[in-house]
């Protein structure tokens, strides 16, 4: 763990997203639109982790992830750990749990679903399977698989 953190210069303040499913880091960068933040970001791909499983790591300088971003993270790669770094030290370590009800985050793929056609209504998805990340629209009951998830912002 220590070596991994050192592979890229330690950051003073910001966020380290650890234990990302291997090869998922790039997608997280894209979907959270992190490059837009304007600070330095490092992406480590296929890092050897302690338990011999490859993982990705993202380090974001001078920016702490907000709640909405963290919820999205959970759907992109369950079991990630978000470390908030302040003055070179881990000040908070958050293990991300996927909420059983995902509100206002995912676009329902059914164009005729009421949540895509009614003002002021947030999409709402029920988590059906924590492992496969299959979710279901609580309104039209459409089920979607992890690879088909589209985020609203």
């Amino acid at each position: 763990m220590k070596n991994n953190l050192l592979r890229v210069q330690p950051i003073r303040n910001g966020t380290v997203i650890d234990h990302i499913k291997a090869d998922r880091g790039k997608k997280i960068l894209d979907i959270l639109d992190l490059s837009r933040i304007g600070t330095t970001i490092s992406l480590l791909i296929n890092v050897q982790s302690k338990i011999q499983i490859r993982k990705d790591i993202i380090k974001i300088e001078d920016r702490e992830l907000n709640e909405v971003e963290i919820e999205k993270l959970a759907l992109l790669s369950p079991d990630v750990i978000v470390n908030i770094i302040r003055n070179y030290a881990v000040s908070e370590k958050k293990k991300i749990e996927i909420p059983s009800l995902i509100t206002g985050l995912v676009q329902c793929p059914n164009e005729n679903c009421i949540c895509n056609n009614e003002k002021y209504v947030d999409s709402k998805f029920k988590l059906l399977n924590k492992e496969t990340l299959q979710i279901q629209c609580t309104y039209c009951k459409r089920k979607i698989e992890e690879e088909d998830i589209t985020f609203i912002y």
Binding site: N112, I114, V121, Y139, C140, K141
Partner: protein, 301 residues
């Protein structure tokens, strides 16, 4: 139980309770006995798309129980609601009534309405989604025609791809150890999202003759012209799946044919006078079943 949004909201016991109560209400539904069970209560029928049959049957059911109805049926009558959100409209109507029947072109509308309504919402059909009272009356019909629902061999024929009635009915029948036979042209086959969920055995057929002699119930649905880009293809398919006396030669004497109606030629009129034809009784059954439901939701029974 507060709202009826989806047939999934009802477990086997609540389904059987409703069917039992519907049976008791048959004399009232036929007008042979009077009821004041819902005297002074008001049912709002909000039809954001037209469905004469559903609307009339709910109004009849409510009035047979001594209650009265308000509402709108014509989509143009809702033009004054333009710009108003569905949730605002429902909050308003809920203030005027003791229960709301909602028919809406979008999937999930009834679920959304149930989240904001103070009074029970009954889904009268939401887009390609659910129509739970249709499913209940289908189950009631099977129960009364065959004498039981448990362990039957049920064929479904016609447009199984887009027909929401057959999707919900399969879902509901799956709790009753049903053996399913899905009969349709390939292009209109039962979708995987329905068959994937079934715990009981099912099979897919293109030809009714293969399975007809096995069936206890044959549920026929309309094959819509609009599903076929080529009119000639439609005519061939419609011809192949037409039920007439000749087709029924091999059917069990007690086999019953159901159809949600209206039909456009799927069942020849010469079948109407046979003992197989249950579809007109099925249409009537909408009344006692909806009465049982209204009594339960509004009367607190």
């Amino acid at each position: 139980m507060k709202h009826i949004v989806s047939i999934e909201d009802l477990n086997k016991k609540s389904i059987m309770d409703i069917l039992k109560r519907a049976n008791e209400l048959l004399p009232v539904a036929k007008g042979n006995k009077k009821s004041k069970a819902l005297d002074g209560k008001i049912l709002a029928t909000c039809f954001f798309e037209p469905s004469t049959r559903t609307k009339l049957s709910f109004e009849s059911a409510m009035q047979r129980l001594g209650g009265s109805c308000i509402g709108f049926a014509d989509p143009s009558a809702t033009s004054h609601l333009k710009g108003e959100t569905l949730t605002d409209a429902i909050r308003m109507v809920a203030g005027y009534s003791d229960a709301v029947i909602l028919r809406h072109p979008r999937e999930g509308a009834a679920k959304l309405a149930s989240e904001v309504s103070e009074v029970p919402i009954i889904n009268g059909g939401d887009g390609a989604g659910q129509h739970p009272t249709q499913t209940l009356l289908d189950l009631f019909t099977i129960n009364n025609e065959i004498g039981k629902i448990e362990g039957l061999k049920v064929g479904m024929l016609g447009d199984l791809r887009y027909g929401r009635t057959v999707h919900s009915l399969s879902q509901a029948l799956d709790r009753f150890n049903t053996k399913f036979f899905f009969i349709s042209p390939k292009s209109l086959a039962m979708p995987e999202h329905v068959t994937d969920e079934l715990d009981n055995p099912w099979s897919i057929h293109e030809n009714l003759n293969e399975v007809l002699s096995d069936l206890d119930v044959l549920y026929v649905t309309r094959i819509q012209k609009e599903r076929f880009p080529d009119l000639e293809d439609y005519k061939i398919v419609a011809g192949n799946y037409k039920i007439d006396l000749g087709v029924l030669k091999n059917a069990k004497p007690k086999m019953r044919i159901l159809h949600p109606l209206p039909r456009v030629g799927e069942i020849s009129t010469d079948v109407d006078n046979t003992k197989h034809a249950a579809y007109f009784r099925q249409a009537f059954n909408g009344i006692p079943v909806r009465m049982a439901l209204l009594e339960k939701l509004i009367g607190g029974k």
